[in-house]
């Protein structure tokens, strides 16, 4: 076959270009084009937490992860989340022994002996993200609020540091950040859940005791969980609309 050089290069060139173009198209379609992250629409979500007491082992991973993720001061007076250990003797629900050494940050040292006739278990605590939040009700300026997706957030650039909300929270989940002199508390790792990630405590819980759920998403497993388990909230008599649902909550828990 005779092929003069010009024709060769011409044909080869065209083949090359077409191949390259096709390859690019195939690459884009098969591999999936890098998608634009879907804009987070707050109104589509209504966040809640499940805490499964029957699974909590008091390892303290959640406390450590939260402090690492959210830059919480490491001293023992400041916790966005903490774990309590309950030791309930016999029928005395009103006087349990409770401890939370450094909030559970370093785990729990041995304190009780097995077979002492008492019931011992761990209870993780955090902001309950109340739907009828008393802390939001008392803020004089609107520096704390319930977001459209059900998370109780703090506006750190607006907070006066009057501490009224700290007084009004029945669950003791708020504190004053000594560095900014504004209030701080669990915000469900808002910077993570708005990107499709799990809160740091949920991500790091090894037993699945902590779960986050989206009540507005009909496919979310939280609906099945709430159907199949008897759950309670803390201090139900306060009618705060708490969205932290505890499975296996004992009557002695405060």
């Amino acid at each position: 076959m005779t092929l003069d050089r010009r024709a060769f290069f011409g044909t080869a060139g065209k083949y090359l270009i077409v191949t390259a173009a096709t390859a690019k198209v195939i690459e884009t379609f098969l591999a999936g084009a890098t998608p634009e992250p879907a804009a987070y629409a707050a109104a589509d979500h209504w966040w809640a937490m499940i805490l499964d007491i029957e699974k909590c082992i008091g390892c303290g991973n959640c406390v450590r992860a939260c402090k690492a993720e959210n830059d919480v001061p490491l001293e023992a007076e400041y916790f966005r989340t903490w774990v309590e250990r309950y030791h309930v003797r016999g029928d005395d629900l009103e006087h349990p022994d409770v401890d939370s050494p450094n909030g559970g940050y370093d785990g729990f040292p041995d304190k009780y002996s097995a077979g002492d006739g008492a019931r011992t278990f761990f209870v993780p605590k955090l902001c309950n993200h109340c739907a009828h939040s008393p802390c939001v009700q008392v803020c004089p300026v609107g520096a704390t609020f319930v977001s459209p997706d059900g998370v109780v957030l703090v506006d750190k650039s607006y907070c006066l540091g009057c501490r009224y909300c700290v007084q009004a929270c029945p669950y003791g989940c708020r504190f004053i950040d000594p560095r900014t002199h504004t209030v701080d508390k669990c915000n469900l790792c808002y910077h993570r859940i708005t990107k499709g990630l799990l809160p740091a405590c949920v991500e790091n819980c090894p037993t699945g005791s902590r779960m986050i759920g989206d009540l507005r998403n009909p496919k979310d497993p939280i609906h099945a969980f709430l159907r199949e388990h008897k759950v309670q909230v803390l201090k139900p008599q306060m009618a705060t609309g708490s969205k932290a649902f505890y499975n296996g909550l004992d009557g002695s828990v405060r």
Binding site: A76, D97, V98, S100, V138, G172
Partner: protein
Amino acid sequence: MDAPTLLHAVQGYMYPNEVDLQWSILIVLYPFITGLVAGAFILASLERVFNVAAVKPTYRLALLTALAFLLVAPLPLQLHLGHPERSIEMYLTPHTSSAMAMFGFVYLWYLMAVLVLEIWLDYRKDIVLAARESVGWRRTLYRLLALGSDNISPGALAIDDKVGRFVTIIGIPSAFLLHGYVGFIFGSVKANPWWSTPLMPVVFLFSAIVSGIALVMLMYMAIRFLKGRAIDMPCVDTIARYFFYAFLIDFSLEMLDLIHRIYEADESFQSLDFMVHTRLYLSQIVVQIGLGTLVPLAMLALTQLVRLSEAARKTFYAIAGTLTLVGIFAMRWNVVIGGQLFSKSFLGYTSYKMAFATREGLLPAIVLLLLPFGILAVLLFLLPPWPDEEETATSEAA
């Protein structure tokens, strides 16, 4: 707060975030000060609205005392805030569901539309006369205070009197609001059983009236004594009578709250009872109830039942008044600090370690308590409460 860790001071279990107290002695000071303001104003209104003529000698003094303390009232709050520079947000975006949000407006209303206006209307004649008779910077000051007006004709003064009476009438519910909302700030916190009761605003108000009356009575007796002038005994006796009645009501209300708590013995009772018998024993049982309520009540009852000499009555009033003021301060302390000493888990207690020379320590608290007296001294100098007597004194001296 800026104190070192309190963890060692915790007894039992407290939620980790509860160990440090949030509201310090400055927040104890604030209701004490606004209580004095409200009480002093109520005493002043006794003469102006209810025509109890006997207390007229204390009318102007009561108003000036109220003003001096009202000017100091926001200072403990500003010192306490994490960001005092943002406090203007309460005026810009007040959250109407928060009792605290109404502070800015109630304060400003009471200061300008009630107290300052009423003082101005009552003193206007003296201010204009002073403007006419003085020279230099004083003249400028008095002309400024008179808003440049020179009209003290009988017609103008009659209008002043009418308007002043109207302002006082509005001032009474305003005074109730100024201090009552503070009681509501505490009484509406369902999370805290030591605070949460519908009685709180009423108890606050009546203890405020008691403290305000006691203060003005003491100030009147002290100032007259220091100036070497006679004390108007019918005036003081009348004040003491109202003092006694208000105190009886206040005591009954507090006893009602106590009896109710003990009887119902709800989930918080054991924890609170233990707290009162241990950490709050000195401030509540000894100071507030014993020295601050029962002793003054007994002394005042005695003055009402037995005819005592003038000297004896003056002594009794002075002692009773002083003990009352200490007792009412202790009451504010027991409410504010007491409400934070126990855990909301009802399983533990913490301690209040008050620093001395820090932003929220004892030293600024003492300064803020003394400051109103300094301001009052200036006010009494600029606006003498008994000008007719000053004239008689100067003419006698001449």
